[in-house]
Amino acid sequence: MVHEQMAHLTAIVASLAPGEQKYLFQARQMQALSFAVHIPLVCFGIAFPAMLLYVESLYLRTGDELYRTLARRWSRIMAALFAAGVVTGTILSFEMGLLWPNFTGTFGSVFGLGFAIEGFSFFMEAIFIGIYLYGWNRLSPRAHFASGIPIAIAGFTGSLTVISVNGWMNHPTGFRLSHGNVVDVHPVSALFGNWYFWHELVHMYLAGYMVTGFVLAGAYAFGRLKGRWGRYERTALAIPLAAATLASVAQIFVGDWNGREVAAAQPTKLAAFEGLGQTAKGAPVHVLGWYTHGHVEYGIPIPRLLSFLAFHSTSATVEGLDAVAPADRPPVNVVRFAFQTMVGIGSLLALLSVVYLVAAVRRKRLPESAWFYRALVLAAPLSVVALIAGWVTTEVGRQPWVVYHVMRTSDAVTGAGGIPVGYATLAAVYLALACGVAWVLLRLYRKPLDRGGSQQPASETA
């Protein structure tokens, strides 16, 4: 009886086997585009509510209308970004099935629970954001402040559950494979008993504060260069910037920890980060350059540094790309370029952060040099680039596997046609959405300050 059932299941899984897909690369690109659009919005979901609540708590403590005005104006920005985040996140969950039905169809029972729980975080976020945004004039100040707290908590729990799935894809546990079938599934231990996602979560959480902080600060820094510089603007710049700078300093060490975790569990991925063709004792790091024929050309070598960073020993052996067959290696230059971009920008942001922190702590005021503010304007887009480069590093570095060493991405892809059409359509729609959101943000940015904070035009929606 059991045997019969097994035979039947085998037949089912066999018929869900990969279809012919000429457009695997386009499918990956489409997924990457969807992530790249969604991930910066996630940062605002993680960090913006906490910053808003801090501003609102200042208002509750001091009664100073300036803080209320600031919080209200920020909450409109949050509304627009959250709406864009909701819909781009919905697209991602559609694509789990539309682009990778074999991945979801085979392993949905193992990792799906993470998304199911994430759904509830998403619910809490959406419900309380509705209350928070539309409750400014209607709830008592304390009740209104309290309605924002679940948004900040849900931002954290939401990223926790989603990243637990990503951690599982990189370090799959909690199931057994028997004749190509997934058996003995223990979803809770697969996702949350798996230590491999904690470093990713902390890294991403700090990145959320960096991106949100630098993007907001960059906007007000731009205003300062144009002469918009009162107490309101100084406050609006300093509150996100202080968070971003502290996070940037911590991120240096957290990033280093991430590198060591990857070295321990995914040596091939680490080798791709560094373009290490051959397994070596006392392996060097190369800054810049280009990977070709098993080594990095035109790079600046720093001897033994990779061994030291990865294993805390200058003579440690680091596994190279040659440890696995060529078909099992990720596209080295993409991964390496993304990795160097992330580390390079991260280091520059940390440097800028130290400049700020020294000025703020020692002189107890904001820096005065116009160059500092020009650097902040530049830091805003760079922080987003570093964020996306970081995700490219880990996701392309996972290739050619969708479930590390278990299922290839090429076996996960849909057998349905029309991927190029879908990709083009999505790109066009996202371009329109990006233009629309940019237009809204510009509108909100240019809207003159309304110090009373209680006047609302009839047309106001958020």
């Binding site: 200042l58 199911a116 809204v440």
Partner: protein, 408 residues
């Protein structure tokens, strides 16, 4: 009922909530699209927008819930559906993006003309999405999908009489629900002329939805015989009767301007339709695949059910709060409310800046020690906590005094 049915029942409950709540949102978009021009039309568009704006995001999360439960508990079925019905699902996804885009963009509009533009452009999605999702249900009901990647025709699976009829029915019932809800909202605000305009729409849409539903039964008779039989003479009959009765009751209630009870009967009509479909289709999930065969292992099903019930404990009180505030008119943005000024609370002695700075440095050094130099997992845990301590204790120090003056 068996354990392997439970997650599907939860997903169907989620689907019913989605059809009612997000359906009303799409329906609101439908009335925006068809409002025409002029002052009255602007009023309709505005009302439709304001009534939905605080709740639309929460309403759309129901779909995410349905997707995630199905792919966790019935992965093989989900993979086959997503692959085979990729076209309507993609259209629905794009429609959802556009609908959300309308809410994002409306925040920046300054004039009625801009708002009209935004509403009309994006309201198209309000027809697209329910239609596309309706065709997906139609494809399942007429057993057009079997296991495979893809398992069935990419086009004929959802462009067939049953799918198209259910797609049209989804659009009509969305418009119906929205008109009922919006008349109720307008009446609550004492805007009776506006309520009457939505009342007329509700009656028209209700008759249209009823006619499509009747036509749908005829189509099912020819196209999906098994479901038709089970709906009209078997297990699905009670649900069909409830749905019909609730639909007619809603029309009568709306006719007599009893909008509040009409909300619930309208929702019941939609929920009963879904229930009828589910019991009539049971135990078939896809062509050649029963629910039992599609279900994941025991541990997974238990985990999904437990997680969902635990989530529901958090979700329903929160949803109740949101709807109570919205329906009570407390979250309308147009009107002014009295606003109490915050009482100056007892000023907390803030951490001396000097102490904060020292603490931050201590946390930083400890963090480097535990996270960077030590190599054990437990040490890394402490190290991460130290870095968060560094950020929290350093935060106030990193804010210049002239920027944040808390009154000390």
């Amino acid at each position: 009922m068996h354990l392997y049915d439970l997650p599907l029942v939860l997903a169907l409950i989620g689907l019913a909530f989605y059809m009612v709540l997000a359906g009303a949102d799409f329906g609101a978009g439908f009335w925006q699209l068809t409002a025409g021009k002029g002052k009255q039309a602007d009023e309709i568009r505005d009302h439709a927008h304001h009534a939905m704006a605080p709740v639309w995001e929460a309403n759309h999360v129901w779909l995410i819930f349905v997707l995630t439960v199905v792919w966790t508990a019935y992965p093989i079925a989900f993979g086959s559906i997503a692959s085979t019905l990729s076209i309507p699902l993609f259209i629905a996804g794009i429609g959802i993006v556009l609908r959300g885009g309308a809410y994002a963009l409306r925040a920046g509009t300054a004039t009625a003309r801009e708002q009209r533009g935004v509403d009309s452009v994006f309201a198209v999605s309000s027809i697209l999405t329910p239609f596309a999702l309706g065709t997906v249900i139609g494809a399942l009901a007429s057993e057009q999908v079997h296991v495979g990647n893809p398992g069935g025709s990419l086009v004929a699976s959802w462009l067939n009489p049953t799918s198209i009829t259910i797609g049209v029915l989804a659009v009509a019932s969305s418009a119906y629900l929205a008109a009922v809800f919006l008349s109720g909202d307008a009446a609550r605000e004492g805007r009776h002329a506006l309520a009457d305009r939505f009342r007329a729409r509700a009656l028209a849409a209700g008759l249209a939805a009823g006619a499509v539903a009747m036509a749908g039964l005829v189509v099912l008779h020819f196209d999906a015989e098994r479901i038709f039989r089970r709906l009209t003479e078997g297990v699905g009959l009670p649900a069909l009767i409830v749905s019909l009765t609730a639909g007619i009751a809603t029309l009568l209630l709306v006719w007599h301007r009893r909008y509040e009870p009409a909300r619930y009967t309208a929702a019941l009509a939609v929920a009963a339709t879904i229930a009828g479909w589910a019991v009539a289709q049971n135990p078939v999930f896809l062509q050649g695949l029963t629910v039992r065969q599609a279900a994941a292992g025991h541990d997974v099903l238990v985990a999904v059910v437990v997680a969902t019930l635990a989530g529901a404990l958090l979700l329903f009180p929160s949803l109740a709060l949101l709807f109570r505030l919205t329906l009570g008119g407390e979250l309308r943005s147009g009107k002014q409310g009295s606003r109490e000024s915050p009482v100056r609370s007892h000023q907390r002695q803030r951490l001396g800046a000097r102490l904060g700075a020292r603490l931050a440095v201590a946390f930083l050094i400890a963090g480097i020690g535990f996270l960077t130099i030590a190599n054990a997992a437990w040490a890394h845990g402490i190290g991460v906590a130290c870095f968060f301590g560094f950020i929290l204790s350093g935060y106030r120090v990193a804010l210049p005094d002239d920027v944040v003056d808390t009154g000390n």
